[in-house]
């Protein structure tokens, strides 16, 4: 039963001619931190609003704890939303904002007091209780919005891009705080974001959504390392694509002949046959760029290509390089795990070697002939 805690069953929603959500089915487990990740306009917010009760699906049903909630108005669903702009009531104090849902539920005053005080302490804003929302900072408002939605213990907490309005430092801080709150309350979180970093660092599972359909539903590592298709690979993080055809197979490895690039060796985990067309994705951090060629390793050979450096962007932790090899522009990076000045220097227009292990490429899309 816990596996069927929250179910979207073939849900479709159209706005005029535009299909915002197209036949989406997904299941969220109880207590899970689940993210809907996708570019803006992909339908993730519409999914959230249908669960909140602000939109009604054109077809399909939504079940919560086994009950069909598709046609219930928002105030009869035990789900609460943290809105992107916080939507705190400006005419009420922080305390009254948080107590809002408890007062509506006609809880007795002592219990309301106890629970509001408790959650104020959890978000560390007890000393701000008498202030009004416009007297708080962005991060504080965010915490109040979360507290207000959590205080009467909903079954699911919906978060609609909650960190989008915060600056970078605060966002990183709130990420950790959100994670802590999720662990403390044990409520199911449904998190909508277009920021892959947020989704990856918080989620138990992520649904990558594009044009109203789910492209992939998996854990963060799976989504990054084994993307289901070209869209997922390019939307989550940076990557280099090589399109080509398998020309030969040796044991676990295959050789790919690209249209405008030399042969590439790759791990054939999908048991593909000679003649099939593939897209190979190689992440920048999986590639090396060195002034000298690598030592040959045992077993499978390494993909090595002489290249020329086009662009260098130093970013402290690592340096990004854009190199040209056989006319292809390739994006790679070199981490500085040792003191930078000890490393062999690479500068613009240097002739370098670009190389990666065949296991580090991932074949993302198999185009059927």
């Amino acid at each position: 039963m816990t596996n069927d805690f929250l179910v979207f069953d073939h849900v479709t929603k159209r706005f005029g001619a535009m299909t915002a959500v197209n036949d989406v089915s997904l299941t969220v487990k109880k207590g899970e931190f689940f993210s809907l990740l996708g570019p803006s306009g992909c339908g993730k917010t519409t999914l959230l609003r249908m669960l909140g009760g602000f939109e009604r699906p054109d077809s399909g049903r939504i079940y919560l704890e086994g009950k069909d909630i598709t046609d219930l108005p928002p105030n009869q669903r035990r789900v609460h939303t943290v809105f992107q702009n916080y939507a705190l009531f400006p005419t009420m104090t922080i305390w009254d904002n948080i107590a809002f849902s408890l007062k509506l539920a006609k809880k007795d005053p002592e219990e309301i007091e106890e629970r509001v005080d408790e959650i104020l302490e959890m978000i560390q804003l007890s000393d701000q209780a008498w202030k009004y929302p416009n007297q708080l900072s962005g991060g504080q408002k965010q915490r109040v919005a979360i507290a207000r939605a959590l205080v009467d213990r909903p079954l699911v907490l919906l978060l609609d891009e909650p960190l989008a309005a915060l600056d970078l430092k605060l966002r990183q801080h709130m990420l950790i705080e959100l994670d802590t709150i999720h662990d403390q309350v044990g409520i199911t979180f449904l998190y909508v974001t277009h920021d892959q970093g947020e989704a990856m660092s918080l989620s138990d599972r992520i649904a990558v959504i594009n044009k109203g359909t789910i492209e992939q539903l998996d854990g963060p590592a799976k989504i990054y390392e084994a993307p289901a298709n070209r869209f997922v690979a390019s939307f989550i993080g940076d990557t280099n694509f090589f399109s080509g055809e398998i020309v030969s197979i040796e044991g676990d490895y295959c050789f790919i002949q690209c249209e405008n690039f030399p042969q590439i060796q790759a791990f054939n985990d999908k048991n593909l046959k000679v003649g099939q067309k593939v897209d190979l994705s190689v992440r920048p951090e999986k590639m090396r760029v060195t002034p000298t060629p690598p030592l040959p390793e045992k077993g499978a050979g390494i993909n090595v290509y002489p290249s020329k450096v086009n662009d260098i962007v130093y970013q402290g932790v690592y340096t990004r390089y854009w190199v040209t090899s056989s006319g292809c522009k390739i994006h790679t990076l070199r981490p500085h795990s040792r003191f930078l000045l000890d490393q062999e220097p690479i500068t613009w227009n240097d002739d370098v070697f670009l190389w990666w292990h065949p296991d580090d490429g991932y074949m993302v899309e198999v185009k059927e002939d």
Binding site: F54, N75, N85, A87, F89, P90, S101, L104, S126
Partner: protein, 321 residues
């Protein structure tokens, strides 16, 4: 020090220059006339309609047994006009603010449309519409008949025939309230609409999300959210309602005489300017005193609220340690 000079409004001289036209305007057309009106009340009047010597005779004349009733009538009718205007304007302003921008402009514009026709003409049109032979009157009689019949049927009243002659809308208080609401409602809709334009409607969604019904969200979130607009709307309707004399003159008959009519009668027909001034002053005082009391009460309430909230915070901080 230098920084202050960068802002031209920061220097005292510039402040004066900027605010002077407003001051002059208010002084010329509000403060000085008000003082003159007040001064007139301490004069007698001359036979040819002029203002006489300093005297308390005007105030002594004011002890007319009719006046308290007329002041009370004026306040009561203004109250009902304001109440109905606000009750009707609130949902109207809400609906306009939620329309898409194209319809918003069309509807907001058409609310102002009646102002293209002369006010007196419009009131006169009502006089025709409410005529005892008109269809509005016959609708009213039908309604009274049905109501009587229903009351008799459930046993609350005995079945009595309607006295058609005495049940006219025209020349009654109802006609004055009806047409006043019609005339003043744009002044109620506009400030509320302006406030509603700035209102963040996602707050209503947030309230719904947290368990509120639509009506509860409207009452507890929307109405406090447009409070400033509501206050201006009340003033915009109440103040002209207090001073109105065209509507009661044309539609109120002999039953509904308001202070505006009395002032008009004293000033124009009886040519007793001091007496009219005294009536105007009386009316102003009877409006300003309750408003002053309300403001004092509100301020006290705010101070109490603040104290309560501070106590609440103190309690929270104590419970933490």
């Amino acid at each position: 020090m230098k920084k202050d000079n960068l802002n031209p409004l920061k220097s005292k001289k510039a402040e004066w220059v900027v605010t002077l036209p407003g001051f002059v305007w208010l002084a010329l057309f509000f403060a000085i006339p008000a003082v003159i009106v007040l001064a007139f009340t301490f004069h007698g009047h001359t036979a040819n309609g002029g203002v006489g010597d300093w005297s308390m005779s005007t105030w002594r004349e004011l002890v007319d047994p009719d006046y308290p009733a007329i002041v009370w009538n004026t306040l009561r009718i203004s109250f009902w006009v304001t109440l109905w205007s606000i009750v009707l304007a609130l949902p109207c302003a809400y609906a306009i603010a939620r329309m898409n921008s194209k319809w918003k402009n069309i509807v907001a514009g058409s609310i102002m449309l009646p102002f293209w026709t002369s006010f007196v003409v419009r009131v006169f049109a009502w006089k025709t519409m409410l005529h005892p032979d008109g269809w509005l009157q016959s609708c009213y009689i039908t309604w009274l008949t049905v109501k009587n019949w229903m009351l008799a049927w459930i046993g609350l009243a005995s079945h009595a025939p309607i006295d058609v002659a005495s049940s006219t809308i025209l020349d009654s208080e109802a006609a004055v309230v009806l047409v006043s609401v019609y005339s003043f409602i744009p002044f109620a809709i506009m400030p509320i609409y302006t406030a509603a334009e700035k209102f963040d409607f996602s707050l209503l969604e947030a309230a719904r999300d947290l368990g509120a019904s639509n009506f509860y969200a409207f009452r507890k979130i929307f109405i406090p959210g447009v409070k400033q607009g509501l206050i201006s709307a009340i003033l915009m309707v109440f103040i002209p309602a207090i001073g109105s004399y065209v509507i009661p003159q044309m539609l109120g008959g002999t039953d509904c005489v308001l202070i505006g009519n009395k002032i008009f009668m004293r000033a124009i027909q009886m040519r007793n300017i001091p007496h009219a001034s005294a009536l105007a002053t009386l009316m102003a005082v009877s409006v300003l005193v309750p408003i002053g009391c309300a403001m004092w009460w509100k301020r006290r309430q705010n101070a109490r609220d603040r104290k309560r909230l501070e106590a609440q915070t103190a309690r929270l901080l104590v419970s933490r340690h």
